[in-house]
């Protein structure tokens, strides 16, 4: 049985085609099952007595939960609601694809998707942590994806905070927020427990401001923890917003960078889920870059695939990554700037010859000479 909310959404979406043009997975695979309509149809058929099969479960995981469909719906329906519940059911019934189950097992056992042992995640930016306090007015949340896949982002952010004279501490990559688990198995109690523990650890730092580097984690702290009544006491701000504020106040003074034309890939968790896209542009402007917008940007951004899909179905993110690079190439830019480690990772694996992907905080550190 699906919840009343999931059933209502599925019943509405099962015969509606209006958002199919926005599905990043559907666009690159051309598969009919990769549309919110068909996923809603499957859920509604299951509610009408069709068996829920491993094939259907696998189809439910061919989605990056980027919420482009929800954002576009003129009447407010939300396919991710029933897709997440279908994933919960797949896990409960033991029919989730093996690669998905492995990802869940890794998260539950090690706290990250990448098979790294807890306690070893800070190795990529360990030098930067020296001398930092355990408690401070500002806490910087790193997240597992940055720690494991792009530690240079953490290092850059820490150096920038030091340069700006911010009194801060760091919450390392070991602290998972439940963002990945929530995408893989739905917003079940296990995920709430993880999110609550994360909020409690933030509270333990005594910070009044929590700066979150990974937009997926920022969304979890702001949106889900808010809904579940377990938001941290600290004010949660995205790193893009926080660093744009430091630039605006003159605490960071970037020098112009010579990169040729650049464009921005808005992470869906940041631009759509948190409705934040201007600070990235402010930072790009502050670095004096020749910027051209992609056609689909801001709340309309097209997901590159994301870390979860990349983890269990890398063959799909090979395609979604290429799809986003094609969008970028049409701007004439040679450099795509991201503000999300997942996007950086996924775009990075299919970078076309002569183009490159850069993280915005790494660039800012360079522009600020740190």
């Amino acid at each position: 049985m699906f919840s009343e909310k999931a059933d209502k959404n599925a019943k509405s979406c099962r015969f509606c085609w209006m958002c199919r043009h926005l599905c990043p997975v559907g666009l690159v695979t051309g598969k009919e099952t990769n549309s919110p309509r068909v996923k809603g149809l499957m859920v509604s058929l299951v509610e009408r007595g069709y068996g829920y099969t491993a094939e259907m479960a696998a189809d439910m995981y061919e989605c990056c939960l980027c919420e482009a469909c929800t954002n576009d719906c003129a009447t407010g329906f939300e396919p991710p609601v029933f897709i997440r519940e279908a994933r919960t059911r797949a896990v409960v019934e033991g029919i989730a694809p093996p690669a998905v189950q492995k990802a869940i097992d890794d998260l539950l056992a090690k706290g990250n998707l990448y098979g790294k042992k807890p306690g070893k995640l800070a190795s990529g930016y360990a030098d930067e942590l020296k001398g930092l306090p355990a408690k401070a007015p500002v806490a910087l949340h790193i997240g597992a994806t940055i720690a494991c896949r792009a530690p240079e982002i953490a290092a850059a952010a820490i150096r920038l905070l030091k340069k700006a004279g911010v009194d801060f501490c760091v919450i390392g990559g070991e602290l998972q927020t439940g963002a990945e688990l929530g995408d893989l198995m739905g917003f079940v109690d296990d995920v709430r427990i993880v999110a609550r523990a994360a909020a409690a650890q933030v509270d333990a730092t005594g910070a009044g401001t929590l700066v979150v580097l990974d937009p997926s984690n920022a969304r979890m702290f702001v949106r889900e923890c808010g809904e579940w009544g377990c938001a941290p006491a600290a004010k949660v701000v995205t790193a893009t917003s926080f660093f744009a504020g430091l630039v605006k106040s003159g605490k960071l003074k970037p020098e112009p960078l010579a990169l040729g034309r650049v464009t921005l890939h808005d992470p869906c968790r940041l631009a759509r889920d948190l409705d934040e896209s201007q600070p990235s542009r402010d930072l790009v402007a502050a670095m004096g870059l020749d910027f051209k917008e992609m056609f689909l940007h801001g709340r309309m951004t097209k997901c590159c695939g994301g870390v979860i899909l990349n983890n269990h179905s890398p063959q799909l993110t090979d395609l979604t990554s290429v799809g986003r690079w094609e969008d970028a190439a049409r701007t004439g830019a040679k450099t795509v700037i991201t503000a999300c480690p997942g996007c950086h990772d996924v775009l990075g694996k299919k970078t076309p010859e002569g183009m490159r992907v850069e993280d915005i905080f790494v660039l800012l550190a360079k522009a600020c000479g740190v």
Binding site: K31, V38, S44
Partner: protein
């Protein structure tokens, strides 16, 4: 001949050899995806939990050459082929009613050539039309094809069913916008129509395949006109006392100027949908108009249409409601606004000359409302020409029979009554949704002996009858 035993696997291997293993499926969950399109009966059938029509194979070619090789195999084994683009058609045109193959075109989604000299774009037929429109928008251009299904359907789907958009008065139907086609015939031949659509080199090959609904071959590529974006688009709305005065105004306007939009709603639709979405709570017939292009011309055309509407008693509502309608033009079609199961409903859009169009409207309204208790009939008039216009009539029954077989019979009786009333008064089976499975049985009634022409073409290009059986009355 049925494929027995492991013969199905043998044929499947042949398809895999052409398009790759990842692009052939016999999974049950994939089959579900193709068992429902926008056709009411299919949706009702799914809602009742009945077994959906299912293909044996789903094949997803990535090029015309692959389509050609797939059709050669299908023809050899005499396996039915149902071409599927977006699957958003309302006539059951793509449903795999005879099993066989679903040939999903969506992997063919590339822009082949963008020609700013001649202002044309060549594109593969599986491309989503909104994606194509955005591609043109990036360059400051537009295809000016804005149907409510813009985001849902593919290039090939619009061509196969002769689609139309809300700006048709100025820019035409899809069959006016298309300059040339590439088609794969059922025997695997890849053919091209002429490079230009206007000529005296025999009948127009484009227009044989546009509207053929997958019964004569597979459209794999098309070239369309491109337009500069208008410098200005201005809206104006009016309320007329009835549809007669609105139609009189509309036909005078279209004969004097070129508005992009003229939409006239009957009194019933003005009260129901227009009030609900736009908040215009006035009695009468609501008309929305748009003029666009160079500002000087726009100003002049607006002045003329205001004069004409006033002459016919139209109350000027200004530009705000028209703009609001434009901003909400697709909102009408989202769940929560559009009719949905369990309601029984259908859109019987037809078209006629001005001497017939009101007769058609009233005959269809009476045929539906007088013969079927508890069925409402609403309509609007859009897509205007110098000689006539389209009426977009819809019927709605809130509580149809629970029993699905009984519901199908009632559905078909309502359709027969409505369409036969249109035909008897100078209308046609359909204006821009196509024929499909829904209306195929009425094609012979409409065309009479002229149907032989279509049957002859069908027999010539598809002698084994594998292409989309039972659709279009062929």
């Amino acid at each position: 001949m049925e494929l027995q035993g492991f013969m199905t696997d043998m044929v499947c291997s042949e398809f895999e050899d052409v398009v790759g293993q990842a692009n052939v499926s016999r999974r049950d969950s994939d089959k579900i995806a193709y068992g429902v399109d926008y056709f009411w009966i299919g949706r009702m059938w799914a809602d009742r939990g009945r077994a959906l029509p299912a293909p044996e194979f789903i094949v997803r070619p990535g090029s015309a050459d692959e389509v050609s090789r797939v059709l050669k195999i299908a023809n050899y084994y005499k396996i039915p082929v149902h071409t599927w683009g977006g699957g958003s058609g309302s006539q059951g045109g793509a449903l795999p009613m005879s099993g066989g193959i679903i040939l999903d075109t969506k992997r063919m989604n590339r822009v082949v050539e963008y020609d700013e000299v001649s202002m044309k774009v060549t594109v593969e037929a599986g491309m989503n039309f909104q994606q194509l429109e955005w591609y043109a928008n990036e360059r400051g251009h537009s295809l000016m094809h804005y149907p409510s299904s813009l985001t849902c359907a593919t290039v090939g789907g619009f061509l196969a069913h002769r689609g139309i958009g809300v700006l048709s008065n100025k820019y035409g139907k899809i069959d006016d916008m298309c300059l040339s086609l590439q088609v794969v015939l059922p025997d695997g031949s890849i053919i091209e129509s002429l490079p230009v659509p206007k000529h005296a080199a025999g009948p127009d090959l484009n227009q044989i395949f546009i509207g053929s609904e997958g019964t004569l071959g597979v459209i794999t590529r098309a070239t369309f006109k491109l337009y500069e974006q208008p410098e200005e688009r201005r809206f104006r709305a009016f309320i007329f006392k009835d549809i007669s005065s609105g139609i009189a105004a509309g036909k005078e306007i279209i004969r004097k100027i070129h508005p992009s939009i003229i939409r006239l709603y009957d009194e019933a639709e003005t009260i129901s949908i227009i009030k609900e979405v736009l908040g215009v709570a006035k009695k009468g017939s609501f008309m929305n108009l748009a003029v666009e292009g160079i500002p000087e011309m726009v100003a002049l055309e607006e002045k003329i249409l205001i004069e004409i509407c006033k002459k016919h008693g139209g109350e000027d509502l200004g530009g705000e409601w028209g703009k609001k309608w434009w901003d909400n033009r697709i909102t009408f079609f989202y769940p929560g606004h559009i009719m949905d199961i369990p309601q029984l409903f259908g859109t019987m859009d037809t078209i006629g000359t001005y001497d017939n169009i009101e007769k058609i409207y009233w005959a269809m309204k009476h045929a539906v409302e007088d013969n079927f208790p508890n069925v409402r009939f609403i309509a609007h008039f859009s897509h205007w020409y110098e000689w006539g216009c389209m009426v977009y009539d819809r019927f709605i029954m809130d509580k149809p029979p629970e029993d699905p077989e009984e519901a199908i019979r009632l559905h078909n009786r309502i359709w027969n009554a409505g369409i036969r009333a249109a035909l008897a008064n100078g209308g046609v089976i359909n204006d821009h949704h196509g024929v499909g499975l829904k209306l195929g049985r009425l094609m012979k009634e409409q065309y009479g002996p002229a149907m032989k022409v279509f049957e002859g073409i069908k027999k010539s290009v598809d002698p084994n009858g594998i292409m989309n059986p039972w659709k279009l009355g062929l």
